[in-house]
Amino acid sequence: MNNTAISVIKVKDTLLVTMPPDPDDSTIAALQERVLDSMDRHLAKGLILDISEVETLDSFFARTVTETAQMVMLMGGRTIIVGMRPAVAMTATQMGLKLGKIETALTVDRALDAIEGRPKPSEASHR
């Protein structure tokens, strides 16, 4: 419906995608196409999916995210999910949502380091 609701920006060789808090199904479906298109256009190494604003992760959302990660992988990229809220993580686990083998990170910083291939920062740079 409103696929401009998803922000896709390029940071170095990585795409940073931020999901809106309560996206409708069309917005979620549009995510896939926009991400793959951007991967191709920017020759990106990977994708960081920031879901820190997302309040509800249901089976449709989970499936789309898993599929998108697989497609990014086929294009030679890596996907990292960032910022899952505690309540969302609890619900997803208790309800048996499967997010495949997608990597996760607590912060965008850490995900960016992982994709850009930088060594792990010391514990000092915690936030």
Binding site: D25, T56, D58, F60, R63, G96, L97
Partner: protein
Amino acid sequence: MTSGISSGELQISAENDIVMARRMVRDAATQLGFGVTDVTRLVTAASELARNVYKYAGQGVMKWSSMQADTRVGLQLQFVDQGPGIPDVAQAMEEGFTTGGGLGLGQAIVQPGVAVARNRRDVEHHLRRHDGADRQSEQLSRQAEPRKPAAAVRCALLARRLVLARHGCP
């Protein structure tokens, strides 16, 4: 909102109504004093059921109402549609079974304590039976684990009801 029974309903006939259903349940559950985790669980379950209504029946209605018993507060969600029905209910409740190209988790997600029925007679039968089960589990949870919320989810072809009760008022 003052204490007492409140309720509302939402027509589901467009994709965006799934979002509306989530919002309605989030507002209701928050106002009833559910914690953020329970709110998220309720909203997620509502999202699955609202999508099922839209996807398989095209249209239907979601009704919500608050419930109160002693110090317990509950939220009941009921999804009613005139959908094509579920030929094999046991199979449909299995994780990984899908006819709609989904993950097959939608029904299984709403499963704990779920009853699904094929027709109105079955629905009534299930609801009667599970009313008894609810009372039992409520009593049990009071005796054994007074702080743990008793959760019961009811799901049926013509009437899907979800009840999450919690102890204490905000």
